[in-house]
């Protein structure tokens, strides 16, 4: 059975101004040990999707429809008590900005000890500290540094601390939201290598949320491409990069410079992502799509199987 099963999830933000569907009927399944790259540009809903797996969507956002099943637990409807037990213990979450995600007045040791003892109250402080040091050592942080404060760490180190916190309770699933966005090139590479190594040694299931398709190419088994709250394409990494099907995926892949390719000509997508408060009719991508035809303007495409992937595009819907 899959570890994480998301079915037709809808997450909406209710504001005075409008009702925005940040996530619109997204379905995904995560098998144990797999790595999924969730890609899309800013505002596509990938972060919201990540947060919703732990019911962490900030108000005025709310899960309004669909199901999320985490190893047979109904995340959407379970009690607050149950969801708190899942967070950290079954699912580790690495938040976007390591600079602001750590409490500046708490030592790193306190971050760990508090978290461990909240979930496993029988653990003594010594044991909790021991575990924390082990985790950090694995991530390349010297045990003496456990009594330092966040500001004494560099950006890369703080990110490692975040990863450590996410892994300290031994979760099966790790969700990383833009884990390397604010980091320098070389540190980014270090963190990616670290994630790859942890994935292997801890047999982690990893969801990597990012707009950087380079990282996804390197680490993910499968890729899910999101656009304006919906899934555009979902498939194996190799296949998706070699033969992207959805016009958005094609355009996205063509807009990223590849230093190993000589004489590359980059393309771009005209226009801008839709205003989700007043979305266009039919396919949300059609105003920018070079292949749009009549049906695209009227009817929303559904995610359908095509070869070994899934695409939400009328070009592949022969019905």
């Amino acid at each position: 059975m899959s570890l994480l099963d998301i079915q037709s999830l809808v997450v909406q933000y209710h504001t005075f101004a409008a009702n925005v569907k940040a996530v619109d009927r997204v379905s995904l399944r995560m098998e144990k040990g797999h790595t999924l790259g969730l890609v899309g540009e800013s505002g596509c809903g990938k972060s919201t999707l990540g947060l919703s797996t732990l019911r962490l969507v900030p108000p005025p956002g709310k899960i309004t429809d669909g199901h999320i099943t985490l190893d047979s637990i109904d995340v959407v409807n379970c009690s607050d008590e149950e969801i708190r037990r899942i967070r950290g213990k079954r699912v580790g979450y690495i938040f976007q900005d390591p600079m602001t995600s750590l409490n500046p007045v708490k030592k790193i040791s306190n971050h760990f000890v508090e978290m461990i003892r909240t979930h496993e109250p029988e653990t003594s402080e010594e044991d909790a500290l021991k575990r924390a040091k082990e985790v950090l050592a694995r991530l390349g942080i010297l045990p003496e540094r456990i009594n330092d404060f966040p500001h004494q760490f560099s950006g890369g180190m703080r990110q490692r601390v975040m990863i450590g916190l996410a892994l300290a309770l031994g979760p099966d699933l790790l969700i990383a939201d833009e884990p390397t966005t604010s980091l320098d090139v070389i540190v980014e590479a270090q963190i990616i290598e670290l994630l790859k190594e942890l994935k292997e040694s801890l047999k982690l299931t990893l969801v990597l949320i990012t707009h950087n398709i380079g990282i996804v190419a390197e680490t993910a088994d499968r890729v899910a491409v999101m656009y304006a709250g919906r899934l555009a394409e979902l498939g194996e990494t190799d296949g998706l990069f070699e033969k992207p099907m959805h016009p958005y995926t094609q355009a996205l892949l063509n807009s990223v410079p590849n230093i190993t390719k000589k004489g590359q000509v980059l393309s771009w997508i005209p226009g801008a992502p839709p205003d989700l408060a007043q979305p266009p009719h039919g396919c949300l991508y059609h105003p920018r799509c070079p292949h749009a035809f009549d049906r695209c303007r009227k009817e929303e495409p559904h995610l359908l199987r095509h070869d070994s992937s899934e695409v939400a595009c009328h070009l592949f819907d022969k019905r």
Binding site: E41, D184, I186, A189, G214, F241, N258, T260, W268
Partner: protein, 325 residues
């Protein structure tokens, strides 16, 4: 066209009261330390580095937005470093800056048409109607057509890409010779980046500009630039045409950078050369070669003497005692 010689910028570190009382030693952030490079007319030079490399500080120094601690910046033979007041203000029309954050670069209370027109007003170019004409023309030229659709809008009514075009328009309306672009696309959506880059390249041909591109994105620098200068901790470690620097890198740091960038191709075989540790603080840079504590090829001399930037291959300079040929 632009020649920088021995440019240095040290920022004094603000000390707390007690520190001031008990220690007399002052500390400085060695943001830029004795760098020299030159650019020919029409060149597109990419200044590439990570945080703490001094690339943004160099950009601001070239435009005299901050005072250099020492050194000279020669623009067509004239030393900008020594300019002040009115003379400097007038000189500004020759060198402009495109900022990283399009939203923060535009005052939220000024209409974008006016924001562009201000450049002409402040430099006292043309009559009021000339200025409006030129503003309209440049709006259309950067793709914000028809101009009357955009002139009276406020920044919050535009998308990120559109705002960046306004910033470009404002920079170019004065017809400068030299434009510094500090991470111009880092905060623009991925799918729109190439559009902004293409626009900048077209405008370069049309206005006969020279660009100094500041970036940490090597793939982007490779796409857009002609020459590259790699910076590390306030020093330039390698320069040359991009085919040389990215194709046949000599400095261990350049090699590390190139092997670190993620490649959007799952089939690419990555062999990463990741240097030890992290970038040290620019307040106390390592002695000798600044990269030596992390360099996998470092030897004794590297910690004792500082390598100078020397031409190792035609047009290809590197500051290293053991370049990786």
């Amino acid at each position: 066209m632009l020649e920088v010689r021995n440019l240095t910028k040290h920022f004094p570190v603000e000390k707390g009261f007690l520190d001031k009382l008990f220690t007399s030693r002052k500390s400085y952030v060695h943001a830029v330390d004795d760098i020299s490079f030159s650019m020919k007319r029409g060149d597109i030079l990419g200044l590439v580095g990570e945080s703490g490399s001094g690339k943004s500080t160099t950009a601001k120094l070239c435009l005299k937005l901050i005072e250099p601690t020492s050194g000279s910046i020669l623009s067509e033979g004239v030393d900008i470093a020594k300019m002040r007041g009115e003379e400097l203000r007038k000189f500004r029309r020759n060198m402009q800056l495109i900022f990283q954050d399009p939203t923060a670069s535009l005052s939220p209370r000024i209409k974008i048409g006016d924001a562009i027109k201000h450049a002409l007003t402040y430099q006292k170019i043309g009559t009021a109607s000339d200025q409006t004409e030129r503003t309209r023309a440049i709006l259309e030229r950067v793709g914000l057509k028809p101009w009357d659709n955009f002139y009276d809008r406020y920044p919050h009514q535009l998308s990120g890409g559109q705002k960046q075009r306004v910033v470009i328009a404002r920079a170019l309306v004065l017809n400068p010779k030299f434009v510094v672009a500090d991470e111009p696309i880092a905060m623009v959506d991925v799918s729109v980046r190439a559009q902004i880059l293409e626009l900048m390249l077209e405008l370069r041909k049309e206005f006969d500009l020279s660009y100094l591109f500041i970036t940490h994105d090597l793939a982007m620098a490779n796409y857009v630039c002609r020459s590259i200068a790699i910076m590390y901790l306030g020093k330039i470690v390698e320069t040359g045409p991009k085919e040389e620097v990215f194709g046949k890198p000599l400095h261990p740091y350049t090699l590390a950078l190139l092997s670190s960038i993620p490649v959007p191709d799952p089939k690419a075989k990555l062999q990463r050369i990741i240097p030890r540790g992290e970038i040290p603080s620019p307040i106390n840079p390592p002695k000798g070669c600044r990269f030596h504590p992390r360099c996998p090829y470092a030897q004794a001399v590297c910690s004792e003497r500082e390598p100078q930037l020397e031409e190792v291959k035609p047009d290809h300079d590197v500051a290293c005692f053991f370049p990786r040929t």
